[in-house]
C-alpha cells in the first residue's frame, strides 16, 4: 500500500513490475492511467482546446487523504498491494497525471478496487486543475459525473 505525490513523471511499466514482485498469490493486476486531453468538453456540449493544465494540491492533506482511500479499499477487497501516484505542476496534453494500480488474487476484486480508488480520489483528494484555453486560464469545475461515480461506492 503506497501513495506518492510528485512533480515528476512516472514509469508505468516499472511501477507495475514492482507492485507485487515475487508475490505468487497475485492473480490479477489492474491499472488506471489518467492523461491530459487536448480538449475539455464543458457542460456536455461546449468544447474547448486545452494547451496545458496546472495541478495544485494541499501538501500533507493530499497524502493523508490518499492513504485513507487506500485503507478503505483494503478493507473492502482482498488486496495484496495498491499504488497511487499523482502528479502536480504544469502538464501538457498527452502527459500522465495519475496512476492507480491494484494487485489481488482475484480479477473482480482487482477491477473493483482500482475503479473505486480513482473514483474516490477524484472527490476526496485535495487536487485542483486549471487549464490554459483560448479564453485564458479556466479552473476545472467539479464534475457532476465524478460525484455520482464516487457515490456508487458509498455504503
Amino acid at each position: 500500500m503506497s501513495v506518492r505525490v510528485q512533480r515528476e513523471d512516472f514509469d508505468v511499466g516499472a511501477e507495475l513490475a514492482a507492485l507485487a514482485a515475487g508475490n505468487k498469490r497475485v492473480g490479477a493486476i489492474t491499472s488506471f492511467v489518467g492523461l491530459v486531453r487536448d480538449l475539455h468538453v464543458r457542460e456536455g456540449y461546449h468544447r474547448e482546446a486545452v494547451s496545458a493544465m496546472t495541478l495544485e494540491h494541499y501538501p500533507g492533506m493530499t497524502e493523508t487523504a490518499l492513504e485513507e482511500i487506500e485503507a478503505e479499499a483494503s478493507k473492502r477487497w482482498p488486496l495484496e498491494a495498491t499504488l497511487i501516484v499523482h502528479r502536480y505542476g504544469r502538464l501538457e496534453p498527452g502527459d500522465r497525471i495519475v496512476l492507480v494500480a491494484v494487485a489481488s488474487p482475484h480479477r473482480e476484486a482487482a477491477f473493483e478496487a482500482c475503479h473505486f480508488l480513482i473514483d474516490w480520489l477524484k472527490t476526496k483528494a485535495p487536487f485542483w486543475k486549471v487549464e490554459d484555453t483560448p479564453k485564458g486560464e479556466q479552473w476545472v469545475g467539479a464534475h457532476e459525473g465524478d460525484d455520482q461515480a464516487a457515490k456508487k461506492w458509498e455504503r
Binding site: G34, L55, E56, H57, Y58, G60, M61, T64, H86, I97, V98, I118, L121, K122, T123, K124, A125, P126, F127, W128, K129, V130, W139, V140, G141, A142, H143, D146
Partner: protein, 83 residues
C-alpha cells in the same frame, strides 16, 4: 491561526496563506468565513462566489458547522478536481 487558500480562492484572496487572530466569538468555520469576509474586499469577493467551496481543519475535511477552537490551520478550497 493559519488560514490557507487554494485554487481560485487563493487567486481571489490574493495570497496562499495568512496568519489571523479572530476574536473568541468566532467559533465555527462559518463564523470564520463571515469574519474574514469583513477583513477586506478581496476576502468578501472570494467568499461571495456562488460556487460552492469547502474547508479543512488541520488537514481534515470540515463542515461549516465544525468548531475551530484549537485549530492551527484552516484551509478553504473549491471542490476537488484531481485524477
Amino acid at each position: 491561526m493559519k488560514v490557507k487558500y487554494f485554487a481560485w480562492l487563493r487567486q481571489k484572496v490574493g495570497t496562499s496563506e495568512e496568519d489571523v487572530s479572530p476574536p473568541s466569538d468566532v467559533a465555527t468555520v462559518q463564523d470564520l468565513v463571515t469574519w474574514l469576509s469583513a477583513q477586506s474586499a478581496r476576502h468578501a469577493d472570494a467568499f461571495s462566489e456562488a460556487k460552492v467551496f469547502g474547508a479543512a481543519i488541520d488537514k481534515k475535511v470540515a463542515t461549516f458547522a465544525t468548531p475551530i477552537a484549537g485549530a492551527s490551520e484552516v484551509a478553504f478550497f473549491p471542490p476537488f478536481t484531481g485524477g
